[in-house]
């Protein structure tokens, strides 16, 4: 079971909570989608250098593509302040880790208008990852987080942690940490087993 390594996450948390863009060799801020898309090939290269091969390589980069694109798809016109997303990455001999944070409206605020009244926020978080529903309704979209969940569940060694508006969703990870006092933004960690 993987445990969250907080030391690697300070720049990501600083962006998520405070909008602080830290200079870090293993993190980058993409103000717009074009910058984020251009960086996908670099993140893929990082995975290759850390000995991740297919099928995991294509699965992990696809998950990262869905996560980063979600920041733009669901938050255009809804940024709290800074647009775009901040991505951090690290690796050891067992795991590759990516974190993605944005200061958009968040999963809860995105989905609440398209779900039935009185759905509690924990249910909204699980719905986002487990049922086909989109915050961009009536457009037919909304598979990204379900796709990510399926890739994480393809191995018992992978794990995911996501928090938005103080509600978290976890797969294969025992840890939780408090990123409270914030009702906007989305913060997601993926821990991908190399083995």
């Amino acid at each position: 079971m993987y445990h969250i390594d907080m030391d690697h996450l300070t720049p990501l948390i600083n962006f998520y909570l405070h909008g602080k863009i830290s200079s870090d060799q293993n993190a980058s801020y993409s103000e717009n989608r074009g910058q984020s898309l251009a960086r996908l090939s670099g993140w893929k290269k990082f995975c290759e250098l850390n000995h991740l091969t297919n099928p995991g390589l294509s699965q992990l980069i696809a998950c990262l593509g869905e996560l980063t694109n979600n920041s733009y798809d669901h938050n255009i016109g809804h940024w709290h302040d800074l647009p775009g997303c901040y991505v951090s990455w690290s690796a050891d001999k067992n795991y590759i880790r990516f974190g993605v944070a944005d200061r958009g409206r968040g999963i809860i605020n995105s989905l609440k208008p398209v779900l039935e009244n009185n759905v509690d926020e924990n249910t909204i978080m699980s719905t986002a990852f487990e049922k086909v529903v989109s915050g961009r309704s009536p457009e037919q979209r909304g598979n990204g987080l379900k796709f990510i969940r399926a890739q994480i569940l393809s191995s018992s060694k992978h794990s995911l942690f996501c928090i938005s508006a103080n509600k978290s969703y976890k797969l294969g990870i025992p840890d939780d940490f408090d990123l409270s006092q914030q009702n906007y933004g989305t913060f997601t960690l993926i821990n991908w087993s190399i083995l």
Binding site: R33, L37, L40, S41, K44, N54, P55, L57, S58, Q59, I61, A62, G65, E66, N69, Y72, D73, V132, Q140, R141, G142, N143, G144, K146, F147, A150, Q151
Partner: protein, 89 residues
Amino acid sequence: MIIKVSRFGDILTSRPEGREAGLVLLSSDLRNYKSSVDINFTGVEVMTPSWLSEFIKTLTSQGISAVNFIESTNVSVTESIRFIEIEKS
């Protein structure tokens, strides 16, 4: 007609790029073409359901009668196909 999508890149992830790829085809290879197309994924290294969904919707909304998928061994491709089948059902 066979369409090789790697002409649009080897990492295909975003909805706007998928829509743009479809529009490019409709104005070139698929101009005045309304029959079915077969999608060849050879050369694609990373794909998401978002790109593929938007690409397919762009083609079918403009009269392409059917889109078929040529078998791929890339898991991000096969998983993307599986998820847009779920979306359609």
